[in-house]
């Protein structure tokens, strides 16, 4: 299978754990992906916030390069990147005038047929449940896991074309494959405040706090995410939120790739789980304990 890989800036920086764990589980499953050569930033929220054309043109360059190299689909693990790439692809498909302007500027053709996969689509659709199930060596049964989807994976539905925008289940299905118990709660797709993390930290803490306390209330041991922005708000800001609301959370936030890696029996260190701000030690011990019980 020929699949282009678009890591995006976060996976090369603050969310390096996501890339490390992704590459690790792909290696374990014998799946090869190729990074888009000389890819550039998708423009994230900043571009669409103040310049619509730029928000299509920046991702378009990556899509055009991938197309030139003969790829038909792209894996963008970062939910924000996949969102922006899908948006750009949608605009290019539906706005011929803008498409012409952009391809002229890029001096590259683009035929609007690139399929873009977020991490969950890739795992469930491309890799497949059977394959993942066959890889599980260390079932995580007994572990309660809350899947947090946030906004970017599912919305806007007409562009994302992924899962139910109000009650998504794909990540829960993956969690179930690892043997862990998916936890149902109310704020699966509530926003964490992502883009305003640096500029409006108070707002972001309020939103992220809502999500984390709701997860806590529903008895989860940990949270899994498929988005670096969600991760950095839920993980990096968690201590601050605990202080602000004066209530302990202690919820490790793992990438879905890390959870899969653990169930595959990969060493937590190789998955860079120690890279998170909220230590996952207790959860890792629980996993070991569960394994030893069997």
């Amino acid at each position: 299978m020929k699949l282009a890989y678009y890591p995006g800036c976060s996976l090369k920086g603050t969310s390096f754990e996501y890339e490390v764990s992704l590459l690790k589980i792909l290696e374990a499953m014998n799946i090869e992906i190729k990074e888009i050569p000389d890819w550039n930033c998708c423009g994230a929220s900043a571009a669409h916030s103040i310049n619509h054309n730029l928000s299509v043109a920046l991702p378009a360059r990556n899509l055009a390069i991938a197309e030139k190299d003969g790829y038909e689909s792209v894996l963008a693990p970062c939910a924000a990147c996949s969102n922006r790439l899908k948006n750009a692809a949608y605009e290019l498909k539906n706005d011929d005038i803008l498409k012409k302007k952009i391809t002229d500027s890029l001096e590259m053709p683009y035929d609007s047929e690139m399929s873009i996969n977020n991490m969950l689509e890739f795992l469930i659709g491309t890799v497949g449940k059977d394959k993942i199930k066959s890889m599980v060596k260390k079932p995580l049964s007994g572990l309660k896991v809350a899947s947090y989807y946030g906004c970017l994976l599912v919305r806007p539905p007409k562009v994302m074309q992924f899962d139910d925008p109000e009650n998504p289940v794909t990540m829960d299905e993956l969690v179930a494959l690892t043997g862990a118990e998916p936890v149902d709660y109310s704020f699966k797709t509530e926003c964490c405040g992502a883009i305003n993390s640096l500029s409006k930290p108070d707002v972001v803490m309020a939103l992220t706090g809502n999500v984390l306390y709701d997860i806590k209330k529903h008895g989860a041991d940990l949270v899994v995410v498929a988005c670096p922005l969600c991760h950095s708000n839920l993980d990096v800001r968690q201590r601050e939120i605990e202080r602000k609301y004066d209530e302990k959370l202690g919820l490790p936030v793992l990438f879905i790739t890390e959870l899969l890696g653990l169930s595959f029996g990969i060493d937590p260190k190789d998955l860079a789980i120690d890279g998170h701000m909220v230590a996952a030690d207790r959860v890792l011990k629980k996993i070991e304990g569960l394994a030893n019980q069997r």
Binding site: E166, N167, S186, F187, D214, K217
Partner: protein
């Protein structure tokens, strides 16, 4: 050879003031075939008509042209006058030289020239007129009513009381429809079953009404006066005439769990052999074979049979097809409620205490699953705070339908009111976008819910409902104060919108009546023929036509009934003769005409030779259904169909008369 008479009317000075009527008369006299030309002050007056009749007689006219006012004014007057002299009334043509000439133009010379043109056109047309006979269709004076809700029952009773036999077909085991599911009705708070049950009983006992419940219309063919109907009477497994409705059978049925009661909208269970509700009419149970152990487990269980005193349970009964011939039909199939589980954000189906308006009706009803005590489906506790959400599915082109369901504003106000009456100290909140309370006493009713019963109305929609510590948290907006609001409720009632009954589009196709894109039946004219369908002899009533409340449904039932009684007051149905006509010799049986006909008036006709061998198939126009619109004429590739009174050669002659 044509012998045409032209009559130019002055209309006092109305025409003569602007048009040189003598010139028009002179020009008329020059046209070949015109044997008489006359002008007169008032052609429509008695002397005018008399001279017209005299000349028809004297000159033995074959056609007349009146250059006068609009045909919409006096065409009928002159047709009648002509008919009295034995001339076919369709041999009368009108050149409209008043509304189209003298009243709208000022230059006398040019107006006169135009008047001459119009007169010439009509002379050419009348020369080519063929005699047209009005069509008479015999009537079978029996009516079929499809759907036994309030609208259908009303229609059936009114028709039956008018002395006409009625067949009332109902799909469900009992008549009563949606109305019998309701608790009290706005704005008077009459108990629905108290006013509905007597009507149901009356319909059942009426000597002129034949009731088929648990039955469906399978097939309909024919046309006004002569519809052939096939009714499928589904196997009830109970012999109706022997059953006493004692209830021993359903008390004995072991299947008393796991089958949701349709009547109580899934809020309670029913047995496999059951009556949907205690006041059912007829009070005869139905055995639901899809869940009955006898049918599922190879005939072992027959507890109901054993319990039945009169031994009227018969597992071997089969579906039965009944054929009837009727002269007119009422389609009153009613409505369904939208499935609101598509609103993931509202959690219907996920949270037990998020319920629909109809479910709340059942909770309010004394004959409902909680005997009229409002209890939460989740834990049976009485809620203290209820949030009502209006416009769920309605006015929502994205997930639901764009139209307003009309009844939700009122039933929600009623729900909030009854909740306040039943649970003292309780509080209700109503989210609305607009309040529509436009009938008599409705606005006062809604105001009362707010002012006397303390319901708080918030103007805005709800975005999300989720559960938190046993409460339902409702996140909504109040756009008047510009605030986002959160309310912790014990129960949420969604005012779900209405859609046509499932399968009503199929029925419409079977009946050959038109329906809109949602499946509601379309009236023949939205203002002036609201009780008629697009097909002659088929009438509409109730919610099947679109959202409406009980009084409107009753009115529409009565309207349909009065139309039918009016129709049946004669022995024959008369149709204007200006309808389509097929030239069977040239018809190539492509049936494009059939496709464009909005009235289902074209059918296939087989032509056989004397030995019964099929020679050809041709289009055939049903005079009972055709309205003479002419759409088929244009669709015809072989020029084999024409509309009487507007034949191709006539129109070409009119154009030719205008040649310059």
């Amino acid at each position: 050879m044509s012998r045409i008479g032209v009559f130019v009317c002055w209309c006092g000075s109305n025409i003569a003031g602007t048009v040189d009527v003598e010139k028009v008369r002179e020009e008329a006299a020059k046209i070949p075939g015109v044997v008489s030309a006359l002008d007169y002050k008032y052609m429509c007056s008695d002397p005018g008509q008399n001279s017209l009749r005299n000349i028809i007689k004297e000159k033995n006219l074959t056609g007349i042209v009146l250059a006068a006012c609009s045909p919409h004014m006096h065409e009928n007057t002159f047709r009648k006058a002509a008919a009295k002299e034995g001339l076919n009334p369709y041999f009368v043509e009108i050149a409209n030289i008043r509304e189209q000439v003298s009243w709208v133009h000022e230059d006398k010379e040019r107006a006169t020239a135009k008047a001459v043109d119009l007169m010439k056109m009509m002379v050419e047309k009348v020369k080519r007129d063929r005699p047209i006979e009005d069509v008479r269709v015999p009537l079978n004076k029996k009516a079929l009513v499809i759907g036994g809700g309030i609208a259908g029952i009303q229609a059936a009773l009114d028709i039956a009381n008018g002395g006409v036999e009625v067949i009332l077909v109902e799909k469900e085991p009992s008549i009563g429809g949606r109305m019998i599911q309701l608790d009290e009705t706005f704005p008077t708070l009459d108990c629905s079953s108290c006013i509905m049950t007597p009507k149901m009983v009356e319909a059942n006992q009426h000597p002129n009404i034949k009731l088929y419940t648990y039955s469906e219309v399978e097939d309909i063919s024919g046309y006004i006066g002569n519809f052939k109907v096939k009714i499928k009477k589904k196997a009830r497994s109970v012999v109706e005439k022997d059953c006493t409705g004692c209830g021993e059978c359903w008390n004995a049925c072991p299947m008393h769990k796991n089958v949701k009661s349709e009547f109580n909208v899934n809020l309670s269970e029913r047995t496999a052999i059951y009556v949907p509700f205690p006041q059912a009419v007829p009070l005869v149970p139905v055995l639901d074979r899809s869940v009955c152990l006898h049918f599922k487990k190879g005939g072992k269980c027959q507890k109901c049979y054993d319990a039945c005193g009169p031994k009227c349970i018969n597992f071997d009964l089969q579906d039965e097809i009944i054929e009837e011939t009727v002269g007119a039909i009422v389609a009153s199939t009613g409505y369904d409620l939208m499935d609101t589980s598509m609103y993931g954000e509202y959690g219907y189906g996920k949270y037990k205490d998020v319920i629909s308006g109809l479910q709340f009706e059942r909770l309010l009803s004394a004959s409902g699953p909680t005997e009229g005590v409002i209890k939460r489906p989740s834990d049976g506790k009485t809620p203290q705070t209820i949030v009502f959400v209006q416009c769920v599915g309605s006015r929502d082109p994205e997930k639901g339908v764009p139209y307003c369901s009309k009844v939700c504003c009122m039933y929600t106000a009623k729900h909030a009111k009854l909740f306040a009456h039943k649970v003292h100290g309780s509080q209700s909140y109503v989210f609305y976008i607009d309040i529509r309370s436009t009938s008599k006493g409705y606005e006062e009713f809604v105001r009362g819910t707010m002012e006397q019963d303390g319901a708080i109305y918030l103007r805005g929609r709800v975005s999300k409902i989720y559960e938190d510590e046993g409460k339902l948290i409702v996140k909504g907006a109040d756009t008047l104060s510009g605030n986002q609001v959160e309310i912790a409720a014990d129960m949420v009632v969604l005012a779900t919108g209405v859609i046509p009954k499932k399968g009503s589009d199929k029925l419409a196709q079977m009946l050959g009546i038109s329906y809109d894109k949602y499946g509601f039946f379309t009236e023949s004219h939205p203002k002036l023929r609201p009780a008629e369908s697009s097909t002659a002899g088929i009438f509409l009533a109730g919610m099947a036509q679109g959202p409406r409340d009980i009084p409107e449904s009753v009115v529409s039932g009565s309207a349909a009934a009065s139309k039918i009684l009016g129709l049946f007051s004669k022995n024959e149905y008369e149709v204007e003769g200006t309808i389509a006509n097929v030239n069977e010799a040239t018809c190539v049986a492509c049936f494009y005409c059939q496709r464009v006909c909005a009235y289902n008036a074209i059918s296939k006709k087989e032509i056989k030779d004397r030995s019964g061998k099929l020679i050809k198939v041709v289009a055939n126009v049903n005079p009972g259904l055709c309205t003479g619109c002419g759409a088929c004429v244009n669709a015809c590739f072989s020029k084999s169909i024409d509309v009487k009174g507007f034949m191709d050669d006539q129109i070409y002659a009119e154009i030719k008369a205008l040649a310059v």
